[in-house]
């Protein structure tokens, strides 16, 4: 349970970090919070020759909230994002999902952007980025590029980041006016990976009717799955649930069968959507 030796790099700026990645990228891993990477190293499931430790790049420890949304720097710990009151106001899905990411102690060290770069389809933040239609900004000596959530997740644990690129920040668009959100999941034990999780964003029109309903899923597909359930929900809750059941593509593993995960996707779709819609209604009444 000890990591294999690696060459350690401790850059103090993004410029230094991407210069190291330009030289050693294919043999290097970026270390931020390490809450996913260090277990992989300890179990020797990963043994990169180089580790680019970005914990000294204080400029990346940043959460910026504007009317457009929430920008999270690569070194912002999950706890910081979860507890940021202005981030909560602009995009409530963030704290709703973050409270379900492992345990508080893990969130004190783990980073939101690291979680995205890890690209685990069982990760809450991957689902939130996909559901909100967010972006990840990657930096390299070749320049900077903005990658949409739809393009960012390529497969299980596989992102669109090139070996020489550093994910420097992620952007989560704001919840639209007249919107409500919810994030629910079922796990075997508190803080474990979810057997299935569902995030929902509901938007109401001026008359209080449902204008849009989207749900995002985790642990039931190879990359984060987002479904537009607006029409299905207008037909009926069960119609939406069955659509979700048919759309997900879970696998059977030691924790749950594929059928059980499909059942959870159907049930949690209704639960998340109801909560998101009632939140939107309550918000409308308050306004």
């Amino acid at each position: 349970m000890k990591p294999a030796p690696f060459a350690w790099h401790g850059p103090e700026s993004v410029g230094e970090a991407i210069a190291v990645l330009a030289e050693y990228g294919p043999d290097a891993k970026v270390l931020a919070g390490g809450q996913s990477l260090i277990p992989l190293l300890a179990m020797r499931l990963a043994a990169p020759a180089h580790l680019v430790d970005i914990n000294r790049i204080v400029a990346l420890d940043d959460v910026t909230v504007t009317a457009a949304g929430v920008t999270v720097g690569a070194l912002a710990r999950q706890t910081r994002v979860e507890k940021d009151p202005s981030a909560r106001a602009v995009q409530p899905l963030l704290p709703q999902a973050l409270r379900l990411v492992a345990h508080p102690t893990i969130r004190n060290r783990g980073t939101t952007v690291g979680s995205l770069a890890h690209a685990d389809p069982a990760g809450e933040m991957t689902a939130v980025l996909a559901l909100t239609g967010g972006t990840v900004t990657a930096s390299s000596v070749r320049g900077e590029r903005v990658i949409s959530a739809a393009d960012f997740f390529r497969g299980p644990l596989e992102s669109a980041l090139a070996p020489d690129e550093l994910a420097v920040r992620a952007f989560f668009p704001r919840m639209t006016a007249g919107g409500g959100t919810s994030f629910v999941e079922i796990a075997r034990r508190h803080g474990d990976y979810a057997l299935c999780g569902v995030g929902a964003i509901a938007e109401l029109d001026d008359g209080g009717g449902l204008r849009a309903l989207r749900c995002g899923y985790l642990s039931v597909s190879e990359t984060p799955l987002v479904l537009d359930l607006t029409d299905a929900w207008s037909v009926g809750e069960q119609h939406a649930a069955e659509l979700a059941r048919a759309a997900v593509d879970p696998v059977t593993d030691i924790h749950a069968s594929a059928d059980y995960r499909r059942q959870l996707a159907a049930v949690l779709t209704v639960r998340a959507a109801r909560q998101a819609i009632s939140t939107a209604r309550a918000r409308e009444v308050a306004a």
Binding site: M1, K2, P3, A4, P5, F6, A7, W8, H9, G10, P11, E12, V20, Y24, L31, G34, Q35, I38, P39, L41, A42, M43, A49, H50, L51, D53, N55, R56, T79, A102, H103, P104, T105, I106, N108, R109, H190, G191
Partner: protein, 188 residues
């Protein structure tokens, strides 16, 4: 901070005599300035135990599941097995050894127990004690953030720590008792 290269142009991990490259890591541990020279792959838990001979921090699963190795990094609980010492160079760490009062008090008394430690004693919140350092550090920080926890809050507070002996009920009792003791003592 760049590292020296070997004759192939790669950064040298293994230096000439076959030993692994090492780095000076400076930490403030329980208020005391400590330095050790360690390889980059040294976890904070091993740094505390092996290099500083401070064995109060226990190592259970070594991959972040059990919580036994939890220490406070700049006041916030983290898994010391999921943190490399070199990553936290210059930071401040509080371990179980830093929880009790000054062991060298003027009257030569035994160290005073912290409110959380006292509550663990009163509530029988430990049996074998292996997991205890992780619980004490976690709860100590938890009560700073949440001084008046409900029973549900207490369960949430300790949810990331495993105990194989107690069945947790006495630990939940201890969280509530520690909150009470903290208020009585007027501690932070």
């Amino acid at each position: 901070m760049s590292i020296p290269k070997d004759n192939t142009g790669s950064p040298a991990v293994i230096v000439a005599d076959g030993a692994e490259r090492t780095y000076d890591v400076t930490l403030t541990v329980n208020g005391v300035h400590r330095v050790a020279r360690v390889p980059a792959r040294r976890t904070l838990s091993d740094f505390l135990r092996h290099d500083l001979q401070s064995t109060g921090t226990h190592v259970g699963c070594e991959h972040g599941v059990c919580g036994a190795c939890t220490v406070l990094l700049d006041g916030a609980p983290v898994r010391s097995c999921l943190t490399f010492a070199v990553s936290v160079d210059g930071h401040s760490v509080t371990t179980i050894e830093g929880m009790a009062g000054d062991p060298h008090d003027a009257d030569g008394n035994a160290p005073a127990l912290s409110a959380v430690q006292q509550a663990f004693r009163e509530c029988h919140a430990l049996q074998c004690g292996f997991c205890t350092p992780g619980f004490i550090t976690t709860i100590t920080a938890g009560l700073v953030e949440q001084p008046n926890p409900t029973r549900a809050d207490a369960v949430e507070m300790i949810a990331g720590n495993l105990c194989r002996c107690t069945g947790y009920q006495n630990i939940v009792d201890a969280v509530l008792r520690a909150a009470e003791l903290t208020r009585e003592r007027g501690e932070r």
